[in-house]
């Protein structure tokens, strides 16, 4: 083995190069990431999960939800929408200003029934000329930045997910497979506690063609005592329990749902601008309040 030193050196360089690329550089980039401020409301984002939701993250992990559900929204591009809010006092000169940039909009309908979209373009520079021309003659416009992509058109989120969304996840579970829908924004998409509980107990009763297994292990089927439980699921059809019985969620079901409802990656951040900003998160935690 006269070239053993060379082989060792080559292997060392190859391994340290990949370590530097996959561990060291990301650590330098994002290792000290902290709460950021949302735009424009300047709320702190993200907030650490507390109580039930923090325990629910462990339930999510132990049940292996990550094998079928991702928590990452992709984004292919970005579009800029220009809305005409007000044609100003001299509507005809506003129309002329619009027509100079977009000749096909030179018709009276353009400035009636406001607010109306007058441009939907791929680059913000392309909208600037129009905005400048319209505001110069007294018209008012609003410029909206709209992320686009297949995940966003499926309704899985308003913007792409970024590193900031995960900084308080102790086991980051972005997922690798999408047998089920993405859950990065499930807390804002399906914010109904009872819907979530019923769906965990009997997925097909809520989503007709669902392929999700029923997580009945999270629920307790018991005889109705003197008084029926107020927490019992309201079930109909095939999934309803036999007469005299009721289905009650266990602590684990409550924790898991609290976690699901806490999944909201839609705060507008610097690195992923979106306007108009999605509605603010509900301030009350319906699950904890129960």
């Amino acid at each position: 083995m006269k070239s053993s030193n060379t082989i060792f050196l080559a292997a060392f360089i190859a391994l340290s190069a990949s370590w530097a690329g996959f561990v060291l550089v990301p650590q330098i980039q994002l290792g000290r990431a902290d709460q950021a401020k949302t735009i424009p409301a300047e709320d702190k984002y993200p907030l650490a999960r507390a109580g039930l939701a923090a325990q629910g993250a462990e339930v999510y992990r132990s049940l292996g939800c990550v094998y079928c559900h991702s928590q990452q929204v992709g984004q292919q591009g970005v579009k800029v929408e220009v809305l005409l809010l007000d044609a100003g006092t001299n509507a005809s000169s506003t129309l002329a200003a619009i027509a100079k940039v977009h000749p096909e909009l030179n018709k009276p309908e353009t400035i009636t029934g406001l607010p109306k979209e007058i441009a939907y373009v791929a680059d913000i520079a392309a909208s600037d000329a129009l905005v400048k021309a319209v505001t110069a003659v007294g018209g008012k416009v609003e410029v909206n930045v709209i992320p686009t992509g297949s995940d966003i058109s499926r309704g899985w989120g308003k913007r792409r997910t970024v590193a900031q969304d995960y900084i308080f996840d102790h086991v980051v579970q972005p997922g690798t497979r999408r047998a089920g829908p993405d859950l990065a924004n499930v807390g804002s998409r399906l914010a109904d506690l009872n819907w979530q509980l019923n769906h965990l107990y009997a997925p097909k009763s809520m989503v007709k063609d669902s392929t999700m297994p029923a997580y009945r292990i999270l629920f307790e089927k018991r005889k109705i005592g003197k008084v029926a439980s107020a927490d019992a699921l309201k079930l109909t059809g095939d999934s309803a329990p036999p007469p005299g019985f009721e289905i009650v969620p266990t602590d684990k079901a409550r924790e898991l749902v609290a976690y699901l409802l806490s999944l909201r990656s839609d705060a507008p951040l610097f690195e992923s601008p979106v306007t108009p900003p999605p509605a603010a998160a509900p301030a009350t935690n319906t699950v904890a309040a129960k």
């Binding site: 550089v25 980039q29 990431a33 424009p40 913000i124 690195e271 601008p273 509605a279 509900p282 301030a283």
Partner: protein, 211 residues
């Protein structure tokens, strides 16, 4: 085994493998240099130069910056309204708008009063305060009195109107999920119509002004 004698002799005639150094073919060097050049070029175009704030489809910080919400318009008003809300309203309504039952202060989150179609009654309410019973989200609140916070804001009438407009915009945006800016001119008009009033409003009067 009917091995072809001619073929087997070909095999034996092949040169023995050697372990000596040989020069790398020129085409391989050229290919590697080309690939390195192309990958560096691609990285420069789309890589974002290891900036942690740059994610695809953006390619540089300047690119992300161009797509930020423009100052002015609702974004700026909401940010200013948030600060004014913290200073003037949050002591009772809380920063999160959940209200405080201990001092009879109703919630703002998803309240039908916040979600009214225009900001008229909200501006009246902030300007002159409120006393008497008020029903919020199906619950009657009767133990608290809201002071005339709007009238007691510092500054001239125009400055007060501007501040009330920012607070109303923020409250409607944050707690009512209504992204409509309330304009200072609108507030001044409403306040001019109620300027001689000194008593607090009641819930019925507000509902009469804006059903």
């Amino acid at each position: 085994m009917n091995a072809d004698p001619k073929k087997s002799s070909d095999v034996t005639n092949e040169a023995e493998p050697t372990a000596a150094m040989t020069a790398m073919p020129v085409w391989l060097v050229a290919l590697m240099v080309t690939l390195l050049f192309l990958s560096a070029w691609y990285f420069d175009l789309y890589g974002g130069w290891f900036e942690p704030k740059v994610f695809s489809p953006y390619v540089s910080v300047a690119d992300v910056q161009r797509f930020q919400p423009k100052t002015g318009g609702i974004a700026e008003t909401v940010a200013r309204g948030k600060k004014l809300f913290s200073d003037n309203c949050a002591v009772c309504h809380m920063e999160t708008g959940v209200g405080n039952p201990a001092n009879g202060c109703p919630p703002l989150v998803d309240s039908e009063w916040v979600k009214s179609p225009t900001a008229t009654r909200m501006v009246m309410l902030i300007s002159k305060g409120l006393s008497g019973p008020i029903t919020v989200n199906g619950k009657v609140w009767n133990s608290g009195v809201m002071l005339a916070v709007g009238d007691s804001l510092p500054g001239s009438e125009a400055e007060k109107a501007e501040k009330i407009a920012a607070i109303a915009t923020y409250v409607r945006f944050q707690f009512g999920k209504i992204a409509v800016e309330t304009k200072p001119a609108q507030v001044e008009a409403i306040r001019a119509s109620i300027k001689d009033r000194t008593a607090n409003f009641t819930a019925e009067e507000l509902l009469k002004a804006e059903p």
